[in-house]
Structure formats: C-alpha cells, structure tokens
Amino acid sequence: MIVTSRRHRPPVTVSSGLTFLCYELTTGIASSLEDTMKLRAQKISRRSVQVFLLAVILLGSLLAFSRQVFAVSEYDAPSCRWYHAPGYTTSISYTWGPNVYPGALFRAELEQAVADWNSTGVNFWFYEDGSSGEVFIDSYYDPYGQGGFALPYCSFSTTVGYDVYLNRAGAPSNSKIRRAESNHEIGHAHGVGHISGMEPAILGYNPDPTIYYVPQSPDIQLVNERYP
C-alpha cells in the first residue's frame, strides 16, 4: 500500500501548485520504497505493482507537461541575461542619471518602482551606487515617443549593464501610470523581456495602468523562472 503523508511538507517557493504535486509524488514514491522493502518479506501482487508504476509514469508526464503549459513566456527575450547563481539573491547596483535628480519628473515613481520590485521576493536586490551602477536610470524628451526604453549591454550572453530611460514628453499626469511605466522599465532591468498572454502584467498586457501599476503575478513568475 502506498501511504502519502503531508506531515513534513517543506516550505516551497514556486508559486504554482506544481511544487506541491512534486512533493506529493516524491513523498509517495519514497513511501513506496519503504513499502517495497517490506514487501520482500511479504507476498506481492504483480498487478498492483504494475498499476503503481503506470500511475507514477503518468503523473510524471502530466507534471512535466503542466510545467511547460503554466510557464510564463516572453515574446521578446533579451539578448543576454544577468549572471545568477540559482538559490541566491543577485545584487544589482544602479545610478541616477542627471535628468532624474530628486524632485524631477519620474524620480519619485522610479524610486517606488525599485522598492516595488525589491519587495516582490524575486532573487534580485537593487541598491543605489553613487556613480558607477550597473543600471543607469534616466529620462529623456521625445514628443509622442515611446514611454521608455530598457537597453542591455551584453558580453556574449551575459548582461553587464542596463540603461533605463523614461520619456518625459507626454508623461502621464496620473502618478500611478508613471509608476506603472517605471515598474515596466525597471522590470526589464531584471533581465527579462515582455510577457505573452492576456493576463494583466506590468511587463505584458496592461489593460489599466491605474490599477496594475506594481509588479503582478506573471511578472514575478517570469523573473523567478528565468532567475530561480
């Protein structure tokens, strides 16, 4: 008999329920191993073992499939990624450009955006570094232009810097929308592109930036998947 215990469930970090499923599976198999040892001294039905193995294989396949299905995908992955050691927090320094001095347009929202992302629990920590930060944050003026840009610097496939720019021309009068734009570009500086799909996201489809102005679940999931 397979006995599945939930007593010693470890803390899990993956947002979906897949990790729980993994735990249940592995626990079940571990229990079955114990049972198998006992079965050496007992009579065993060949059919029940076959059923068990079939169930394990089917569940494993389902798990692998669902991990693919529920993964967040980028439709424009950046050319390079930050170096990141799995399980660790990568610290990234940033520097303010001359056009986002304290009190300047976008400065407050950019500061909030850095704090917003730092509080998501993703494996990055952005900290201010006087003049030599890896990420350079500034603004520019291009009437009717894009809301902003994030430009990576790549050494082969490794990111070595990012320029983040917000467009002051036509800047939204609503500070929440400016914060959404700031979170969007700071999100890119985490080394990710744009998210596919219609679920509201800062880095994807945003139906109303006055509502969705901080990182959303798909944004956090994307960074966590690319930088576990």
Partner: protein, 228 residues
C-alpha cells in the same frame, strides 16, 4: 523466476531499482528549493560601467504608450490621412532638448527615419499633398558610444516594422514642427493601419497587442468610428 509461493524472486529488486530511477528523475525535475535564504547574496562581478563600451548592445525593450480604440486615437491625432509612404535617406535625432526643441538631445539618440507620404485623402485636418512621417528605428542611451557600428547594431536590435511602400495606409499623426512644417509622427501605438484589403483594416505596430486590441474592421467601419 517464479517462486513456490507464487511471487517472483527478482521482482522486488526490479521494482526498487525502477522506483529509485523515477524518484531521481522527479527530484531533478521538481526543483523544490527549501534552501533559499533571503540573506544569501551574490554580487555581480562582471564589467564595471566604464568598460561598457567594450560590451555589445543588446535588444532594446520599448514600453509603448497606447490607445484602446479608434475613437481615442482619432481624438489625439491632429491629422488623419490615407496615403502611401516611401523611405527617404534622411534620419534625425527625435530625442530633443526639452527647453529648445530645435536642438537635439546631446546625449540620447533616438534615430528617426523620414518617410515621404503621398496623401490621397485627409480624414482629419488638412495640409500638403506630400508630408513626412518619422519612424523610430534605434535607441542609444547616454552611456552607449555613438559610433557608426553601435548605431547600426542599435538599429538591428530595435523592434520596428518599416512602412511598406507597396501598401496603402491610414496614418494617425501628430506634428513634429521642429523638423519642418510637414513633419509628423504617430502620437501613440498603433498609429498606422494597412488598408490594402479594405474589408480588413489591420494595425501595423511593434506593440505586441495591437492586433488583439484592434480587431480588423472594414475601412468603412473605421471611417464611421472616426466620426463618432
């Protein structure tokens, strides 16, 4: 080998071996991480900003300012025209000095290419038979060296759809008088619609969700929406 009591002698060993293999595969796949510590930190030890010039420019991520309806687009456009466009050799820096739009930004470069548009009909506003539409095709921040090689690389990394001289479009435009009397650009995305097939007017935009938000109406329906 079947034993006298009806069980198989080697079967438990085989089951144990298979179980170990499945368990190992699942553990590798599941990546249940219980060892994550918020204090764990690794600093980037890559290129210092002064050496960014040696790094390559990666794919730029743009954050678009968008509209969600033809009506909204028509309201913010000063001019709406139907016409065909041909690229010219003229390029300008669309990033400007905020205090004097006649002067380009000395540090940021937003390369805009000029397209000559032969207007067949004005749907809103009026003006010359030939106007110029500027299309952004590269971005370089203050830290990026503005070498020819870098600008060419930035062009390659920039997401934009060139205007097709074979197609007829409806252009929603806003003036950029600092470049000349008849110079325009799109006010927000999407700002041009392919009307090659008048039964299906399609937005042509680097904004990923343009075709989702703007399902293809007929040209007559679009013109009707302009008047509402």
């Amino acid at each position: 080998m079947k034993m006298q009591d009806g069980t198989y002698r080697f079967w438990p060993k085989i089951v144990t071996l298979l179980n170990f293999m499945v368990l190992l595969l699942l553990l590798v796949n599941c990546t249940v991480r219980s060892d994550k510590s918020p204090q764990a930190s690794v600093s980037q030890n890559t290129t210092v900003p002064g050496e960014l010039s040696e790094a390559g420019i990666g794919s730029v991520s743009a954050g678009y300012r968008t509209v969600s309806s033809i009506k909204e687009l028509a309201d913010i456009a000063d001019v709406i025209v139907i016409g065909r466009a041909t690229a010219t050799d003229e390029t300008v820096n669309m990033a400007r000095d905020e205090n004097d739009l006649a002067r380009p930004d000395p540090n940021v470069l937003v390369v805009g290419r000029s397209y000559e548009v032969r207007v067949s009909r004005y749907l809103k506003g009026n003006g010359a038979d030939v106007i110029y539409v500027l299309l952004r095709e590269a971005f370089l921040g203050a830290r990026a060296p503005k070498t020819e090689e870098n600008i060419a690389q930035a062009r390659r990394q920039f997401v934009q759809i060139p205007i097709d001289p074979e197609k007829q479009y409806v252009f929603f435009l806003a003036p950029r008088p600092e470049f000349g009397e008849a110079y325009f650009t799109g006010p927000k995305e999407p700002w041009r619609f392919d009307i090659s097939d008048v039964t299906q007017v399609k937005p042509e935009s680097p904004w990923h969700y343009a075709s989702t938000v703007f399902p293809s109406p007929s040209l007559d329906e679009m013109i009707e929406q302009l008047g509402q």
